[in-house]
Symmetry: C2
Subunit: 426 residues, 2 copies
């Protein structure tokens, strides 16, 4: 077997048979990190392999992981491991690949350790994987920015003048980032109808999702020291799917002049498995064309786009799910490297565990848009669901599930899913 | 001596003589908490008293502090102590008051302990007192919002329609909050002149300060559970002075539609001493009149305004400082209780240590405005400084120092100062 951690799309396999069916999101090529608990134990770091979770604290106790990572996995977040740095990420991935391929038989041939360290995923609780010191949300899909600008501002000049120059972003609320499976209450807030003199207070009437990916910062930067686009990839640990739940009616009334606040801060959901940049390496693609050419600090040499297929399903209570969006991350106008270079060019520092959302990922057609706002044109053209239901915006009891994967040759490097149900307002 | 911790403005005194001169910011009525290091020791929690810092870790070791706070002071931030909750804050303040008044002679009469626990402030290093999980900045001075709106938007309709209904705020960048004394580099960034087709990149040409106060959240709230205006004061631990450094030219180009980002994220300075809400209790004042009456969730019963005098001094390199602003916190339109109620009404949770900035504190005259933007009308009317210099915006080498205090009967409950020097751009 050729080394499966070199980025070549060979069809490596694992002795964990469920990892080899070509459909699982978690083949040996992936090895995403998460935080799980099972059997009454405290949360610890695990890796998804097929339909199993590999308990890295148990492997570490057994002396099978790199010494440089010793003690990093019996932890309530990935941060301690991430902070050890890229050489340790690489060494750990190489060890896990050897152990799970059978190239190193120490786990495969040890029944007692296998029984302890391989936990069926169906029986575990997955927790928020990262302690997030800061959450920034960008706005990097040209299609999304255009669609929103057309509806909320000037249809003739939908894209604001700064959009093609700046990877626009804003600071989000880190406290309310939750892991997939967390139900969220419909937010209450102020909304104002155009024909009324004053706003009213009550449950949001235009509750929406936003399909995003987010990257997790793996290497801090110091205050006053910008990160270049060339150095930016070395500051990224991995990626998650992100649902930036949005209260459109609250947003429209509150957002001038300082940006979205209560319309976003009631909750942001992320997928529990952090897919590493190493696993995503084979799926790098050429950067999208940018015109005008960005200012020098935003120019990039490397290929910083990624081919990641994405889907959104909407499931009313008691009904079947319907796929309401199919799109791809590779078309995003601004890359993650550009986002990080812009974020730090002022001197702003980043920290290990910072979450950077991509902004809503949208295509040009209604069924490739990453929000109901766009798909239904602000509710005017409801989307039809299986069983005859339709939605302009989300209703109580609806569950939104987002998924994404990179298609390799006979395997998928997947993100699993991020799912959340809407509860009635308090 | 009557109990000095009841909020009555009696002239209580301490056997630490420097606390009794009527001018110090740190009399026995104050007792602000900070994080300090001295003599090569690790940072620990201290309290300012006159020109001394009282080492609470040492007092705790000596068994002089409440058992409920045991171990909370030998810590790299105030968070552990704050998280213990209001009854422990109250008990600790009562103990410190007894020890420093001499009502309890255990410290006063123990020369060895005094020598260990009282450290001259002149010799200590003060650190960022709180680990800040989230930083939110409000915009609650009507005068400031009007002044800014007049310059950047429509002079005839300077106040945006939502301003009188919403305590407008946005998420700031917590990673770059620094303690007083930290020098900051002038940020680089994109700016665009009206007559040019594209932006240029380079050092900010309109660097400014913003005079604010911030409160530190002392009690967390759960996701989905709003905090009412009535309960809000119990969620506040104390306050600091805050300088929200701002790059006006970067801000003007970047802020539409998602708000300020790089124009603010290069640094935010706070004062090192956290003045507790208990110490501020005697300085509560009636709330400002609000018209229209706010929506029900923003109405308040208690007195939530505070009489805090504030000053800003600007000191060019090698020159004397000039006071360029004198104002007061009591005129702020939206109160901190309203800010917190609004922040959480969507269901957004807050955490211990969250920092909530007031927004720039401005009066109606140029010399009562909390930013150069306002004082100099966007640079058009430079302010004259001692020695003949003048400033439209900040120049390299300038030091900005903000201070504030509550004037009691013969004593001041003060904030000390927050100071920062501008270094040339990288």
């Amino acid at each position: 077997m050729t080394a499966p951690n070199t980025g070549v799309q060979t069809r490596a396999t694992s002795w964990v048979e469920s990892a080899n069916d070509g459909q699982t999101h978690f083949p040996i090529q992936n090895l995403p990190y998460g935080l799980f608990s099972a059997n009454g134990q405290t949360p610890r770091v695990g890796v998804a392999i097929g339909d199993q979770v590999l308990d890295l604290a148990a492997l570490d106790d057994a002396g099978l992981l790199p010494a440089a990572a010793k003690g990093a996995f019996a932890s309530a977040s990935l941060n301690r491991f991430i902070a050890l740095g890229q050489p340790v990420w690489q060494a750990t991935r190489a060890r896990l690949t050897a152990l799970l391929s059978g190239e190193d038989a120490a786990l495969r041939d040890n029944a007692a350790l296998r029984a302890q360290a391989l936990v069926p995923m169906a029986g575990v609780t997955l927790h928020l994987p990262v302690e997030i010191p800061g959450y920034t949300d960008f706005y990097s899909s040209r299609e999304h920015a255009t669609n929103v600008g057309r509806m909320f501002r000037d249809p003739e000049n939908a894209l604001l003048p700064n959009w093609l120059e700046i990877p626009i972003g804003y600071n989000g609320r880190a406290s309310s980032v939750v892991v997939s499976g967390t139900a969220l209450r419909r937010p209450n807030g102020q909304t104002k109808l155009p024909n009324e003199p004053r706003p009213t207070f009550g449950p949001c009437r235009k509750l929406d999702y936003e399909l995003e990916l987010g990257f997790i910062v793996g290497k801090a930067s110091a205050l006053g020291e910008p990160v270049s686009t060339a150095d930016a990839p070395a500051h990224m640990f991995g990626m998650v799917i992100l649902n930036d739940w949005s209260a459109r009616d609250i947003q429209q009334w509150e957002y001038v002049p300082l940006g979205p606040f209560n319309s976003k801060s009631f909750g942001t959901s992320i997928s529990p498995w952090v897919v590493t940049m190493e696993a995503l390496e084979p799926f790098r693609r050429d950067n999208p064309a940018q015109s005008p050419e960005p200012l020098p600090y935003l120019r990039q040499q490397g290929r910083n786009a990624y081919d990641i297929a994405l889907e959104v399903a909407l499931q009313p209570a008691g009904a079947a799910p319907s796929t309401v969006c199919r799109t791809n991350f590779k078309a995003m106008y601004w890359t993650m490297a550009q986002q990080l270079a812009h974020h730090t060019v002022s001197g702003c520092n980043v920290r290990v565990g910072d979450l950077m959302g991509s902004g809503t990922i949208s295509g040009t057609t209604p069924d490739s848009c990453g929000s109901l706002l766009e798909t239904t044109r602000n509710g005017a053209e409801p989307v039809a669901l299986a069983g005859g239901a339709q939605r302009g915006f989300l209703e109580d009891g609806d569950t939104v599930t987002m998924t994404g994967w990179c298609q390799g040759d006979g395997y998928r490097v997947g993100f699993g899913e991020v799912s959340g149900k809407i509860l009635p307002a308090a």
